[in-house]
């Protein structure tokens, strides 16, 4: 496995080229260009404000910041997996003609989305200023939460891009699961204090994304840190998903190439 990782490092030039190619292609054709990275979370934010804050009158403190700091990581997570799903099956022509490590396809897509997320996070700066939220040293935890979000997204990207070659149902099932998962994750609502402590324990262990989002909010908007045991299990799950996803990908690689 370590040997495989070293091989990937030899292809950093290719990964860089492919990531910038993906970004160029994505924005070259659109009139609004890079503004799309902001429009996507902003539009969703306005809809949620309209529905929950105005129509249903459910009040959450600093709701726009709360929403954005949940939506932006979520968009990264779902776009990385959704985009990787077809990254092997859809690149059949290339994979059958040139050899390079196939894990580069999901890696490229996830990295491209990481660049997008970093750009989208910039819109939080003016909003945080408007709400006069005090930024403290907690913001140093932001890179760590991004790293673990990256791990879990990449792990799923490996797993499902490979599985999708064998079973095309995967490309329908996975977006469906991600949509359900979205509603089950505290993106537009607050879960703390709403359910009994005992259930919250189980919930936070089962949903590492909830832990990552509360880390995002702790580092960006001064929310209290999630319990250390949630953080540890959340991180363990992220690393576990990455290792299992990658191992699964490598184990089935040869068969996968023959099937596309």
């Amino acid at each position: 496995m370590i040997q495989n990782l070293l091989i990937i490092f030899r292809y950093t030039e290719l990964i860089k080229t492919l990531v910038s190619r993906d970004l160029q292609v994505r924005y070259k054709k659109s009139v609004l260009g890079y503004a799309w990275t902001w429009l996507d979370p902003l539009m969703s934010m306005f809809v949620f404000i309209l529905v929950f804050d105005i129509i249903l009158s459910i009040k959450v403190k600093h709701f726009p910041v709360y929403l954005l700091s949940g939506l932006i990581p979520w968009i990264f997570f779902s776009n990385s997996i959704g985009g990787s799903l077809n990254s092997i099956a859809g690149n059949a022509a290339l994979i059958k003609r040139v050899y390079y490590p196939r894990e580069i396809f999901p890696i490229t897509i996830t990295l491209g989305n990481l660049v997008n997320m970093s750009l989208s996070l910039l819109i939080l700066i003016p909003i945080i200023l408007i709400y006069r939220i005090e930024i403290n040293f907690n913001v140093l935890f932001l890179p760590i939460s991004i790293l673990f979000l990256f791990f879990i997204s990449l792990g799923f990207a490996f797993f499902f891009s490979c599985l999708n070659v064998f079973f095309r149902d995967i490309s329908y099932v996975v977006p469906f699961i991600i949509r359900l998962w979205f509603y089950l994750t505290p993106i537009f609502y607050v879960i703390e204090g709403k359910i009994p402590e005992h259930y919250l324990n189980i919930y936070m262990i089962l949903n590492p994304l909830a832990v990552i989002l509360s880390l995002f909010r702790a580092s960006l908007m001064g929310y209290s840190f999630p319990d250390i045991k949630y953080v540890c299990t959340g991180f363990l799950i992220c690393v576990f998903v990455l290792i299992v996803g990658y191992a699964f990908f490598k184990k089935n690689e040869d068969l996968m190439v023959k099937r596309i």
Binding site: R21, V25, K28, K29, K96, V98, V173, K258
Partner: protein
């Protein structure tokens, strides 16, 4: 010193007589298999050996032609040599970097010719600086001129092939594999490509050429192998192999 050595190599594929398995069917089969205690033959599918018992070697600086009818396994052999498929039995050894020439290998239609040169260089494992140093000779050779800044989706098939050929030939891999590409482009470009190929041969590079054009095989290759139904049916001097192929398969 050999550049490529292939020993009793075979590669098989799963032939599907039915549609692709769905997730549900596979799960059901998985349980059925558990219940039986032994793997059940999946009905409707069977193994197909695209290549079997393939043994040959190519020395450094030698050029080998591969001929055979459609479906004989020529392109699969090339994919094995490039490392795209792993052989299911036997062994393949290579010394040096292998490059492939095929129509529009890995071109991205939305990117310009220039951007695609860098992309392709990176795919073949070159750094940006290395590509910078050969960039001009690629553009010159391709004769694309100002079109190098046009997205490749607007290229004609001849232009795409010319760019692909120019990239592969200027990157100068240790082993150059060519799959039916000498037949593209106009007469002038074909002539130039053959001349360049001769130069590459003189530089001591190894060349593997797959072609239906027996004249190219005779002119460019020292030796040739003839494939049929996944097996080597003839191996020898290129002229003799071409003669064998003509007699056996064309009427």
């Amino acid at each position: 010193m050999f550049a490529i050595q292939v020993k009793e190599m075979g590669v098989k594929f799963l032939l599907r007589h039915r549609k692709r398995n769905t997730l549900l069917e596979t799960i059901i089969k998985l349980f059925a298999r558990r219940a039986n205690g032994r793997p059940s033959a999946i009905s409707g599918n069977q193994d197909f050996w695209a290549l079997r018992n393939i043994t040959f070697s190519v020395n450094e600086g030698e050029s080998l032609g591969v001929i055979g009818r459609n479906g004989a396994g020529k392109s699969t052999l090339l994919q094995i040599l490039l490392g795209i498929y792993k052989p299911d039995e036997g062994a393949v050894e290579k010394r040096g970097i292998a490059g492939l020439l095929q129509l529009g290998t890995g071109f991205h239609p939305d990117l310009t010719g220039q951007e695609n040169i860098y992309l392709n260089g990176a795919i073949l494992g070159l750094g940006k600086r290395e590509i910078d140093s050969i960039y001009d000779s690629i553009v010159d050779f391709s004769e694309l001129g100002q079109f190098i800044n046009t997205p490749t989706k607007n290229y004609s098939s001849g232009m795409t092939a010319r760019l692909g050929f120019s990239i592969a030939i200027n990157i100068k891999p240790d082993i150059l594999m060519i799959d039916e590409i000498l037949s593209v482009g106009d007469e002038g470009f074909k002539k130039k490509s053959r001349k360049k190929l001769e130069e590459i041969r003189e530089m001591g590079k190894t060349v593997i050429l797959i072609s239906h054009a027996l004249n190219d095989i005779k002119k460019i290759c020292d030796r040739a192998i003839c494939l049929d139904k996944g097996k080597i049916v003839y191996e020898g001097k290129s002229a003799e192999a071409a003669e064998f192929y003509r007699e056996s398969f064309s009427r």
